[in-house]
């Protein structure tokens, strides 16, 4: 399980590294190593608790959207190019919380 998660994460990080570094309005741009490090750190959160492997998708300004999905719930972490992070917990398509620590949000996801 852990090996599968590791492979899935590395594959997604490699895809982000292969993106064009040029700024774009309509396509994802390559994140900096700092942003990728943050994305890796967030993605590895909760690996000990059966929390699903998140998707990592690049944004047009070199940020990354990290998303954990489980049933009708999901947790999003928006990493911006300056390294700042904003979270959102969603249930049945409705925002539940924009605050809190990631560990608390992931506990809620699995609750």
């Amino acid at each position: 399980m852990q090996q599968h998660r590791h492979s899935a994460l590395e594959e997604q990080l490699a895809h982000l590294r292969a993106l064009s570094a040029a700024p774009a309005e309509w396509s994802p741009s390559r994140p900096t190593e700092k942003v990728l490090d943050i994305a890796r750190s967030l993605a590895e959160s909760g690996w000990h608790d059966d929390i699903p492997t998140p998707s990592l998708i690049g944004t047009s300004d070199g940020g990354v959207h990290v998303k954990w999905l489980r049933g009708s719930r999901h947790v999003s972490a928006f990493i911006f190019p300056d390294g700042s992070i904003e979270y959102l917990a969603v249930e049945n398509g409705h925002p539940v919380s924009e605050n809190g620590r990631l560990s608390e949000l992931l506990n809620w996801l699995m609750g």
């Binding site: 309005e25 309509w26 396509s27 994802p28 998707s55 998708i57 690049g58 944004t59 047009s60 300004d61 940020g63 990354v64 959207h65 998303k67 999905l69 999003s76 928006f78 911006f80 190019p81 300056d82 904003e86 979270y87 959102l88 969603v90 398509g93 925002p95 924009e98």
Partner: protein
């Protein structure tokens, strides 16, 4: 009594009418498949930006024009009224290669700062409900 425009009104361009549609171009990466169901949907990454999100006024561009410049991108149609109801302002921001006044930027109301996560979610949901042309996913 001051009758001047508020800060929000100054940022929100009245030339862009509520009954218009904006097109957000959707890169293939932003249209992933759910790992469990296989169903594809537009991801919130399409609307996450540290400043503003670009879009095109559908009344001033054609699908053929978009496809000429971005052959693999999809097109999500966003009703302007719904964009504003989600707490956003819209400003005309001319950019090549698009016709004059066709390119706009979407920002958070009222101060024009970057979109908050709930607004990113709202715009993504609007886009998923109005996906006009799916991206060409490899």
């Amino acid at each position: 009594m001051g009758g001047g425009p508020t800060a929000s009104q100054q940022l929100d361009d009245p030339e862009v009418k509520d009954d218009e549609e904006l097109w957000r171009l959707i890169a293939p990466d932003w249209y992933p498949a759910d790992s469990s169901t296989g169903l594809r949907a537009i991801d919130e990454a399409a609307f996450s930006h540290n400043k503003q999100v670009s879009a095109l006024r559908s009344s001033l561009v054609t699908e053929a024009e978009v496809k000429r410049h971005f052959p693999n991108h999809g097109i999500a149609a966003l009703p302007v009224a719904a964009v504003r109801q989600s707490g956003c302002v819209i400003q005309i921001d001319d950019q090549p290669p698009w016709p004059t006044k066709a390119h706009v930027v979407i920002r958070k109301s009222p101060n024009g700062s970057r979109l908050k996560p709930a607004q990113i979610l709202a715009l993504t949901q609007i886009a998923n409900a109005n996906l006009r042309v799916p991206p060409n996913v490899p």
